[in-house]
Amino acid sequence: MDHAAFRLFYEKTVPMLRAFVIRSCGSDVADDIVQEAFLRFLQSAPMVKLDEAQMRAYLYRTVESLIVNRWHRRQRDERIMQAANRDTGTLRPDPVAEEMSRAFASLDPRHRTLLWMAYVEGFDHKEIATAAKVGEKSVRVLLFRARQMLMKVIKKQ
């Protein structure tokens, strides 16, 4: 991928991908994760030819794995988690936005990714299956569960 193509792809992809990372794990680490995901993408991109949907799917898969890794690290270090909670609490002056972000962050990481890919990025089940590295039938089941979890959260609000 050359410089111009990457710029185009980056500018098109980064807003939603970054928003997803911020909603998932807070703004304090989001840019590190986004940067790392794009770096990994660039390092592996010349090896394989992917279409745009596959490239986005690759990025979401990378981002999900980075978020999960960070989540595990945070669980081990309670101090960092508390600092992050304080951070997300002070960064968003809009209480509705803050509550929505917290609700979304409370979901299982895999559910978050599936919901985002399906309802924000507009991926179909096949694209989600590629990104999540599962079969299409499994996507239906997982997405159904993710919807149920989110509906519970929405109804609580």
């Binding site: 710029r7 960064l91 919901l115």
Partner: protein, 144 residues
């Protein structure tokens, strides 16, 4: 409703919701389908969530691009190290595998009792070569 009863109209309903282009069929379906009603609610909620404005700008793409170039360049420089080691190992393997003909050639040139000395010298040269190679690679890595 279970996962196997996912509504096949969902995509059309979501699309109609996003574009605000409804037709009678979709409208009447939406009234009777709780799955699609939930889908609309989820799509609205997710849309609002995605639209929350960010206070900071994303990382500069030039930084990411430059970092990837640097990483790739250092990887390219790193590759010959493994190739060199592989070449030395391959040469050593071939020497061991083809030792009998090599030995017979040497035996013709030098007396029988000197063979141990030849073997010792060959091993010494190989070991010295590998040590020098490893040292030069280590120093080169430190410079980077």
């Amino acid at each position: 409703m279970n996962a196997q009863q996912i509504c096949t109209m969902e995509k059309s309903i979501i699309s109609a919701h996003a574009t605000e282009r409804w037709n009678e069929l979709l409208e009447s379906h939406l009234k009777s389908c709780t799955f699609c009603q939930d889908s609309i609610e989820i799509a609205k909620w997710m849309g609002q969530l995605a639209a929350i404005p960010e206070e900071t700008r994303p990382p500069d793409f030039e930084v990411i691009w430059t970092m990837s170039r640097i990483t790739q360049a250092s990887r390219r420089r790193f590759v010959p190290q493994w190739e060199g080691i592989a070449a030395i190992l391959a040469a050593a393997c071939i020497a061991v595998w083809a030792w009998s003909p090599v030995e017979s050639v040497i035996t013709k040139m030098v007396p029988q009792h000197s063979m141990l000395l030849v073997l010792f010298l060959v091993s010494l040269t190989l070991a010295a070569g590998m040590t020098l190679f490893a040292l030069s690679e280590t120093l080169d890595l430190r410079r980077r």
